[in-house]
Symmetry: C2
Subunit: 147 residues, 2 copies
DNA sequence: TATTTTATCTGGAATCATTCCGGACTTCTA
DNA sequence: TAGAAGTCCGGAATGATTCCAGATAAAATA
């Protein structure tokens, strides 16, 4: 999770401008990062800070940030994509009932050098997810079994 | 990777009918499974075997199979979703240049019981992916660097 | 075998997150 | 302060997937 200043720094280094719209989105990413917000939520929240912000700009900014390694995008189908501010290797625990996404820290488990030697594949990026049910949704489920 | 007979068996057990359309799709899944085919390829290939097959049916069948654990669906955004016939835990190596998907067998690396104890999250399904470049695309890249 | 029931199939229309586009607006540089 | 480059905006376009209602086919029943 980068700090606001670190992100601003990185944008400047990349020759990108730090506009009010982008600042608003940066702040939302920091405030709501743990929720793994999608474009819709980011748009809604950032609009409170920069009133003229458009949805197109929100999408463009998310893409720009993603391209420059400020965030990662978790792409889904049918549902909104989600933004990930935690760039360390970890597993996302995704609740299939409420859609909540939690980070679970792990130690890297695959010997990538060995893998590359065997397969010729070099890794630039990873996406590790467990799907299932979070504590709350599991309990709701149990309760409902004996109604 | 289930055999044709095993899949047919499983469908019957679930009270699903084994129609010519479904048979055609099953055969394609077995023949082209290693390519992790998307709906488009499956439709194109299965149509050769069952000439009247429609795209809607292809989608419906993929969903039905996925729901009953015959295959898994790898969902992407913007691009076609892909089908996975290898149901064992493994990492998918996804080439960002050519889109090829390779299976890489691993031994389960996260102690799920421990994770559940700590987080309350129970896992029903996983998706583990490394993005990067396959051997072929890496070499193409090198060659092009000094044109 | 004829009839009823149920599942499945089909083509076309609808969906919806995301991308694309042309013109307007800022910010930087000289 | 003019010109250039980067950004922003709204609305239209995109495209994989889903939805729908009527047609078909397979299983169940008689």
């Amino acid at each position: 999770m980068m700090t606001k200043d670190a992100i601003i720094q990185k944008l400047k280094e990349s020759g990108l401008r730090v506009t009010p719209q982008r600042l608003a989105i940066i702040e939302v990413l920091i405030e709501k990062g743990h929720l793994h917000p999608g474009a819709g939520l980011i748009y809604k929240e950032a609009r409170k800070k920069s009133r003229s912000l458009s949805l197109s700009t929100t999408y463009a900014t998310i893409n720009e940030f993603s391209r420059h390694g400020v965030i990662k995008t978790l792409q889904f189908d049918g549902v909104e994509n989600r933004c990930e501010s935690n760039l360390d290797e970890h597993i996302n625990l995704i609740c299939e009932r409420c859609g909540k996404i939690m980070d679970y820290k792990i130690r890297p488990s695959v010997d990538q050098k060995d893998m590359t030697r065997r397969t010729g594949f070099v890794v630039t990026n990873s996406r590790l997810e467990y799907y299932g049910y979070c504590r709350d949704c599991r309990q709701d489920k149990k309760r409902r079994q004996v109604p």
